[in-house]
Amino acid sequence: MQQKNLSIMHPRPSSIVAALYTLRDLNVEVAILHGPPGCSFKHARLLEEDGIRVVTTALDENGFVFGGHDRLVDMLQKVEERFSPKRIGVVGTCVSMIIGEELHEAVMEANLDAPVIEVEVHAGYNDNTKGVLFALESALDVGIIDRQEFERQQHLLNEATNVEKKYGAASKEYLEPSRGDVKYTVAKRVIEMLKEGKKGICILNAKKETAYMFADITLALQEVAENLGVEDNIVNFANLDTELGLPRVRQHAEHILADMDDNVKIDEIIGGLDEYPIAGQQVRQLIEAKYRDFDFAVISGVPHAIPMEALEGMELISITNGPRQVHPLKDMGHEHVLVEIDLHPKTLGVTNIVESEFGATLRQLAREE
């Protein structure tokens, strides 16, 4: 028996949303949210930018009292009729799970040709990775992923949860959001170090589609170093293995590598785009073996998943997209912490690297030098 963890005051992403993102990564074409019309609306809309349709059964007060079975059957059939999707997802909400709606029965009754991934999930889990896990369990049942991939994902989820609890947005009862340091100042410092001939490691350790923008920082640093004639002083790490992860995640790695192709060489691949919680170990081994004498590191994506022992003696410039990640990173000892505001909306639905604010600032400053 274990005591539950300390409860956290600031709202965090929900398991329902996590399930929706997982369905997208499983290349589901339409996801039905079985619940109130407004449930998870912001993410539902964002996901539509990313090519997955999200519809709702729009349960109202009557639905809460009398159940929404017929509405769900109706919606499943409507979805098939209108969109002819190859793969469908049905996701529970707090309401439908509290009133005991049975997703499976509705799916059976609707009797569709396409496989349906059922996710019985509500938002009341402290670890939102539960939503991912439930979606994967169901995908395993339907035969969309195999046991090996399921177990791999399960391991990564546990590690992701550990990282968030130790150093991330779930590490403190309340975390003040922050925009971090001024990009201009930090860009100046990076250029200064390059000019001094200091050696730097650029680590891209990004979570899935966020890599489309974080990868721009790798590109920008490369450009600036080349302009200063010190490109040999920079090595690039990236978690862009194209052979690992759910279907859509592998595609992201391919797109980004294709975009980088002519401009930058990735010296070390440190895992797949879903391996951000465990890539830190590989980073540590690589640094210990080959890059111990480096002076600074620019880390983008999930910098808090890289163990501090690995980075000992280096000046750290870290770029995150979470305003609540600034204070934990500072506490860990990262000197410069930057936030790419609104990163996620800008990286959904894209297949090319997207310009980052820090990348743009670096380039502009280098031009002015």
């Binding site: 028996m1 274990q2 539950k4 159940g67 799970m97 509290i98 009133i99 005991g100 029965e105």
Partner: protein
């Protein structure tokens, strides 16, 4: 080996589901079956007479205290002749949602309980009527395959029994029989038997009203354990054998309210 029997006992609140369930469990254990009883009533009185009057911690009590239940033996307790006892428990009156409580507790149980698979009989003692999604969760989550409905010959319990039949047919669950727990009203056996026939089922047991049942309960024992040689103990034994042998479950057809009133007039 017999296939596993997984039954739910429904019926109006206070009609005697828990005492029937625990006596049937004890009778089956006497016959050498592996039995589990899962009480879903907040009173958690399904198992108390199998445990010599001792209360066991309920699944929801532990969850309320913030415990992560990981081991079966934290919530499954052995009682009379090895009957495995589980109590779901419930929230305080006026707070939270009992239906959701059942859903959560049985999902938890399903996840951690290995011995459920080894049982010959699992009895779900469900609270009262089928009033919301939570109350049918044991069936909908695939844990129950057949149902029994308990009633007396009075209008209200019959009304509830009829309602339960509506619920069962909605969720495509078979009814294995009607049990009459007598309140000693006039023409009782006839009324309930007629009701059972009209909904397409049959009266599988008539349990007479006997003080000895109450007395044993007050002492914290089942009739089978404390007064095994009485006639009423024999009634429970017969019912238990019927349940273990039953293979004629039906899709119940609920009656119109007017017909129900006629029956009890």
């Amino acid at each position: 080996m017999n296939p596993q029997k997984r039954i739910a006992i429904y019926g109006k609140g206070g009609i005697g589901k828990s005492s029937t369930a625990s006596n049937v469990a004890a009778a089956c254990a006497d016959e050498g079956y592996n039995v589990m009883i899962i009480g879903c009533d907040p009173k958690s009185d399904s198992s108390i007479t199998l445990l010599g009057g001792k209360r066991i911690p309920t699944i929801l009590d532990l969850l309320r205290d913030g415990m992560e239940i990981e081991e079966e033996d934290e919530v499954v307790f052995e009682g009379y002749k090895g009957v495995k006892c589980v109590e779901v428990g419930g929230p305080e009156p006026g707070i939270g949602c009992a239906g959701r409580g059942i859903i959560v507790a049985i999902q938890k149980l399903k996840k951690i309980s290995q011995s459920m698979k080894e049982m010959d009989l699992i009895i779900y003692d469900v609270p009262g009527d089928i009033v919301c999604g939570g109350f049918v969760a044991p069936i909908r989550k695939g844990l129950v395959s057949e149902a029994y409905v308990l009633t007396s010959g009075e209008y209200m319990p019959l009304y509830a029994a009829n309602n339960i039949c509506k619920g069962l047919s909605r969720i495509n669950t078979k009814l294995s029989g009607v049990i009459c727990n007598s309140r000693s009203v006039s023409r009782e056996e006839k009324i309930v038997s007629k009701f059972a026939n009209e909904i397409g089922s049959e009266l599988v047991a008539f349990i007479p009203k006997e003080q000895i049942v109450q007395d044993c309960e007050r002492d914290g024992y089942s009739v089978l354990e404390k007064a095994g040689d009485t006639d009423i103990a024999e009634v429970y034994r017969t019912l238990a054998r019927n349940i273990m042998a039953s293979d004629c479950a039906v899709d119940p057809r609920a009656l119109e309210d007017e017909r129900l009133r006629e029956l009890t007039r």
